[in-house]
């Protein structure tokens, strides 16, 4: 039996700026990252051709999501804000380097992840390693072995679930959190995650496995039958 085995700092200034013609509202509802709006390739092409308004629209479309990413990686509000801002500035400066081999968002995520990681490493030198082998599998062993309520999402309001998940992500060890966020929040592939972090595919997989199992343990405490009482 299972249980027996596993017991910018920019100061405002007057900026000469031509009117922007937003394709949509400046703060649209964020999209699931798996969804690409049909106009994105056109916007990217326009931005690459020097259309600042097109780039502004791309920023408006993804700023909340990129801020979530940099927050999730750095765990520090100030670093997250700076990393987000610098990511967009670098993306603009290097638009010529984007040739459409991946989604624009995936390219942006890589830049933002790099900015966020630089700040995290600065704040916690020698504190975490993304490519050291993980020794032993004691962390893998599930402890919570109770059935969940049939509809766990109905036990809490969506905002409460978001808070629970956000708190979990914040508490997770750096090396697991970063991989989990890139794979399961930003929906990068294993290869894209490995490339973004400069680590091997087995290193991504072993961290993702542990992170997902830890997430299940955490959510089990909230979603097991009777937890609502």
């Amino acid at each position: 039996m299972f249980g027996a085995i596993f017991s910018g700092k920019s100061t405002p200034e007057i900026v000469v700026w031509r009117p922007l013609h937003f394709v949509s509202a400046p703060n649209p509802h964020p999209l699931p990252s798996s969804v690409v709006r049909e106009d994105e390739p056109l916007l990217v092409a326009s931005a690459r051709a020097g259309d600042a308004a097109a780039f502004e629209e791309l920023v408006a479309r993804y700023e909340d999501k990129i801020f979530r990413l940099t927050s999730n990686i750095t765990g520090n509000r100030e670093d997250a804000e700076d990393a987000m801002q610098d990511a967009f500035l670098k993306a603009f400066a290097h638009l010529d380097g984007f040739h459409g081999e991946s989604r624009f968002y995936t390219w942006l995520v890589r830049i933002a992840a790099n900015e966020a990681l630089m700040r995290l490493r600065k704040r916690r030198p020698n504190h975490f390693s993304l490519d050291q082998p993980i020794v032993g599998d004691s962390e893998l062993m599930p402890r919570e072995l109770e059935e969940w309520s049939p509809n766990p999402e109905q036990l809490y309001a969506k905002s409460e679930i978001d808070n629970i998940v956000s708190a979990f992500v914040e508490q997770l060890e750096d090396e697991y959190r970063i991989v989990l966020v890139l794979r399961d929040v930003e929906e990068l592939s294993t290869q894209e995650t490995a490339d973004a972090l400069g680590i091997s595919i087995p290193a991504v997989k072993s961290r993702l496995l542990r992170a997902r199992l830890k997430l299940r343990e955490k959510l089990s405490r909230h979603f097991r039958q009777g937890a609502e009482n």
């Binding site: 039996m1 299972f2 085995i5 596993f6 910018g8 700092k9 920019s10 405002p12 200034e13 900026v15 000469v16 703060n27 964020p30 699931p32 690459r48 020097g50 600042a52 780039f55 502004e56 920023v59 700023e63 909340d64 801020f67 979530r68 927050s71 804000e81 987000m84 801002q85 967009f88 500035l89 603009f92 400066a93 638009l95 010529d96 599998d137 893998l140 599930p142 072995l145 969940w148 766990p152 999402e153 969506k158 679930i161 978001d162 998940v165 992500v169 989990l180 399961d184 929040v185 929906e187 294993t190 993702l208 496995l209 997902r212 199992l213 997430l215 299940r216 959510l219 089990s220 979603f223």
Partner: protein
């Protein structure tokens, strides 16, 4: 495959990233192990809940700072 083997492969299984022979072994185990079936199901649900979590909106001052910096960059560095 035993329960430990299932746990080690659970992530690859959920991602559809298992060798067909290993996947068949794992599924054969799930047919008679309620605990492992539950863990697989809950892990899958956990990933979906995480994936569906919404980003917090940027505060207006951070958004303003970002866009001011962008405008400055674009004006100084027209491409």
């Amino acid at each position: 495959m035993n329960c430990k083997g299932v746990i080690r492969e659970i992530s690859n299984y959920i991602d559809g990233d298992l060798d067909p022979v290993v996947r068949k072994e794992l599924e054969r185990h799930l047919e008679h192990c309620e605990d492992c079936t539950m863990i697989v199901d809950q892990t899958r649900k956990s990933i979906k809940i995480l994936c569906d979590s919404r980003p917090v909106s940027l505060s207006s001052d951070v958004r303003a700072r970002l866009h001011t910096a962008l405008h400055r960059k674009i004006n100084h560095d027209p491409s």
